[in-house]
Symmetry: C2
Subunit: 312 residues, 2 copies
Amino acid sequence: MPPSPSEFAFIDSIRRAVRGDPRVPLGIGDDAALVRTVSAGCLVTVDMLMEGTDFTFPPATPQLAGRKSLAVNLSDIAAMGGVPTAAFVSLALPKSRGAAFASDIQAGIQALADEFDVVIAGGDTNSWDGPLVVSVSVLGEPGTRPPVRRSGARPGDWIFVTGACGGSIHGRHLTFTPRVKEAAALLAAVDVHAMIDVSDGLSADLHHILDESGVGAEVEAASIPIHPDTALDATRDPLERALGDGEDFELIFTVSPEDGRRLLESPPPAVSLTRIGTIVEQNARTLSLPDGRVIPLPRSGWEHHLGKAGGA
Amino acid sequence: MPPSPSEFAFIDSIRRAVRGDPRVPLGIGDDAALVRTVSAGCLVTVDMLMEGTDFTFPPATPQLAGRKSLAVNLSDIAAMGGVPTAAFVSLALPKSRGAAFASDIQAGIQALADEFDVVIAGGDTNSWDGPLVVSVSVLGEPGTRPPVRRSGARPGDWIFVTGACGGSIHGRHLTFTPRVKEAAALLAAVDVHAMIDVSDGLSADLHHILDESGVGAEVEAASIPIHPDTALDATRDPLERALGDGEDFELIFTVSPEDGRRLLESPPPAVSLTRIGTIVEQNARTLSLPDGRVIPLPRSGWEHHLGKAGGA
């Protein structure tokens, strides 16, 4: 469908914000953008966020919904050890919410883009009778090293996580800082073998690394960094939430024991790191509980009680 | 939100289809894909299609909806004179429609991707209670020449269109062939000054070229190639539909008179071309009607009758 006049106006407002970035020789105003690539390849990630699933209004504001739709993609580029450069924003805007809603979403996206020096290089703006849908695609430079994959974990590796996990639904899933700078600092300091960002949950995403690497893991429950936000719901177990909640957008990564010791002795500035376990051979995926029990590392959330935890 | 088991299965099925393409050294299975770039830049385009706006079921099938969601993006890359290489597919799948619906959409996307040698390199699959939303991002190689912009039209240029326009709503908007091969053939034969694909409508998209190039145009109504599908609705004027309907996904382009004559004398094989007018200085945008009247070139559809046409 042809864009409505308000969609043209929206595109024009983005266009003005974009003009003149050397990384995007051709931006909005043609059928496709031209994004300059320094390396022989570019990282690409896409995420689609839907009203009612990934955010609701309230507690989310349009600015925060826009922010999150870009932030989750920056987190993906960070998890590859890359540097995000350009973003493309597709919108299905609810007709009932009007033009201010659209520009608030754009403002939320643009503010985070500015913070991370990402250029909004294009998009597709539509309106309809349905709820808000935002699909963002982000391109990134791989950086000086090959991209860090999920599949590089080796037996003996130490498993780390940045920040703390759990309880993001109380607000942090809208306001988190994608760990782009942290990933760059880690890659500059050590040889990161495998990395992923925590979207499905600390436990589920660690399983992704284990699956892709063909290895197992021994995780110490007592070492899991539990976010204080988990206390905002007293009916649920904080450890369970830290392992199962998802949308923390912290980084899980593995390094050799030598590099692990180096990180603990002199962590990169402003990077919060916790060792949570060790990579082992394939057939063991365990969680050591504070009471001494060793249970299978759950793949997702518990079945309500630690005692019912099952290995996937 | 973490993907559901059916979403994981869907991602796995895509992953199997993708494996092993040298243009995508890292595909599905990491946080981002790595797409190889041959040139110092890549073309990027995104389009979001929504059920109820861009297609309805029926007459569309899930295969055709999937096909269209990729085809519109291939058309954008073609309009830049590029070669599409990799596609990323974000889906919001209606929960009510089940798993077969999802795999039918994927099959429609994959079949067209195979036809144009495009690798499906990643995506984001979600399900929700809303209607189907498909957002596709396509990367392309700029080819051996700089990308063809909308802004390159010069006074004196001849204006051409591929194929025929109008009436695509009767079915062609779902089944059209993106003019990737035609664009490549044109670029190999002549120096294309400006190009755009017909999504908003022949007249509206020509206006985009004129706006971006800062020029005017004299268009001959009698020369407009009118698609026979316009006859499927006898209540509307075929010429009006050819100029105003949209979603033809043909290419409008301009070349020098010398190149124009060359194209008419020896058109590239299998490329249907019609000259529809001439680029002129800025302040004239006219449409010469068969009855001798000269009216302002309408920006979009007529006001129901030719006599009411206004220059937008």
